[in-house]
Amino acid sequence: MRGNAFEARVKADGGTELLRLLHERMGAGARPPVPGEVLVPDLTAAGPEGRVARTALALREATGAAGGSAAWTLLVHPLLALEVAGSPAYLEPDAVVVRPDGRWIVVEIKSFPMIDSSADPSKVGAAARQAAVYVLALERVAARVTGAAVDHSVLLVCPRDFSNLPTASVVDVRKQLSVTRRQLTRLTRIDDIAASLPEGTSFDLERCSPAELTAAVDAVSAAYAPECLAACELAFHCRGQARSAGAVEALGRGVRGELGGLTTVGAVLAAARGESTPGVADDDPTVVALRRAAALRAEALESVPEGLEAVSRGPGSVPEGAVAGCR
């Protein structure tokens, strides 16, 4: 609700606010946009392919016009296409602005606040990654338009402090661009993933039973890390798999890095207790360190005076009024 009102505010009157902010932050060298003289082409068309074509045409015209008439152009909800793993993906940036000098700039409008010119870094990072994909898609189009150049910085527009007034910040997305380019080239083609699955595997939610779906998901190997929990709905499933396998990485990437060749909980504990682990030498530095760690820990816990039971928790008792679900 508030987000919609905000976006509307930013784009009102032919994008006056948006362009003012953009010119202020990224308009160096270009004449300021004059409200009322900004071109806002109509991008409607039938179907995604139609819209993509209409957007490309508008971009071409804007760049052509730019050379001549020093006009700013604002494209609202353009549609772009990008080939991902062999299939086209359709992308819809909030806005793309074409400067009079032919420069194309991605604008992303978000509803998280910028307070005292700073914003939640993880949200900014996510917005940067999203905008970088748009920049990549625009580059594909710009390659076929003379005089066009896509800016490697994007404009991030957010509410200012606690209000709904817009403020903006320039975000350099070159790092996110190079990451996305590499990922796109590496991304396994969907055909290849499908080829490795058992015959008849289906992910169709309508037609499969929960057991069939679980089996289908299980057939695709996963690389779980706790960070997945915040990012992906399948994370709980992958976590369960990792935990059943006793994989050390369920505890986090940092833990995994410390333990060298010992990859399961069982192997680590066995090594720490002085038992031999197949495939790992007894003088392996991690094994030596673990045994020492175990000895030091045991020594410290023993040195606690008698009667100090708090050290090892006994069975707890449920206090009055506590909701069982929360423990």
Binding site: S118, G125, K175, R253, L259, D284, A289
Partner: protein
Amino acid sequence: MTATTASDRAGFDPGAEAARATDAILYDTLHGAYRGVVVDSPPGAGKSTLVVRAALELAAAGRPLMVVAQTNAQVDDLVSRLAEKAPDLPVGRLHSNDPDPYDPLLNELPSVRKSAKAADLAGLDVVVSTAAKWAHVQGVEPWRHAIVDEAYQMRSDALLAVAGLFERALFVGDPGQLDPFSVVGADQWAGLSYDPSSSAVATLLAHNPELPQHRLPVSWRLPASAAPLVSDAFYPYTPFRSGTGPADRRLTFAVPSDGSGPDRVVDEAAASGWGLLELPARRTPRTDPEAVSAVALVVRRLLERGGATAGERGPQAAPLTADRVAVGTAHRDQAAAVRAALAGLGVTGVAVDTANRLQGREFDITVVLHPLSGRPDATAFHLETGRLCVLASRHRHACIVVCRAGVPELLDEHPSTEPVQLGVTIKFPDGWEANHAVLSHLAEHRVPWQP
């Protein structure tokens, strides 16, 4: 062997270019209107030579100055060089009250006066000390001039503590090496122009963007086989070239190869300036015994095979001795493990240290345990460009890297969910890109080996 004048190479005359840059820097320092001059100095570009020369020229022009370095070793090195170039010039060495506050060698230099009190040294033309010691100095008249050495490794708050002691300064440093950091979080100031955890130069330029920025265009240390890679990968905006041509330096071994992996990679390094000894892919502890042992073996073979280096400095080839070889690692425990392995092989006199401690030093050949070898993933620490840059830029002749296979794949799997702070200038090069660039270059000099 005659030294090729590198001016035949596409018209680039390194000596002339370097001299031109130095003249411009000195001009700005002595006569410029700005309060600060910044010099980007890539590895082996003659930073210390520049600092010494600038100090002497200022002194000769009747402008007393203070010099700020970051460590005691750097201070003592500068003092020695000053005394060497100008034996009659009185130089002050301000030191702390700790035991062994300065190198005892300074005691043999009659022109050097040492004191723990700045007031004792105030009248001298040049006074040198560490930033930490200068920060405690109070109640003296500010100097008109200062030179701040290793300014990119100096933290912003360290500059804040000493900037009141001088009016104008020449800031010299290497932007490609390790950045300053803090063990406590400093995120709340990220994006502010005076973020206390950022580098002194970053803060200085954020507030004074009009200051003249120079760069030294030539590395006299890095051979022609290394300068292009290091420059492209780590100094994309301040490129530099090698001061020597491909034929100007030679590394040879009298004893032929015994066909083992270490010997083959030594031969590769002698021929091309680089070598990659690649062990089979495996996840290992940080002090991977096989990799550590491989490093030690390579070092031993380097010293056993009658190596000799020849270059532009003189017609005679010099024997490759232990003090001209160094081992670089990312972590202290790795360095300790290599030292132990070398001791076990009876090899002594070889410097073994982490990137942090190798900064500023130079050798003929370096052997590097790759920061990502044997790791399951790449953390920000290991991807830090400064670390890799230091490890790859210490050598005059060749650099041999020991690494397990699988690192390029590890890099590709590195997730990209990094947070972004608004207002912070992106630092280039990107650690990921730099690592890939170095690895693809090394791939051309790979010697796979099963220990």
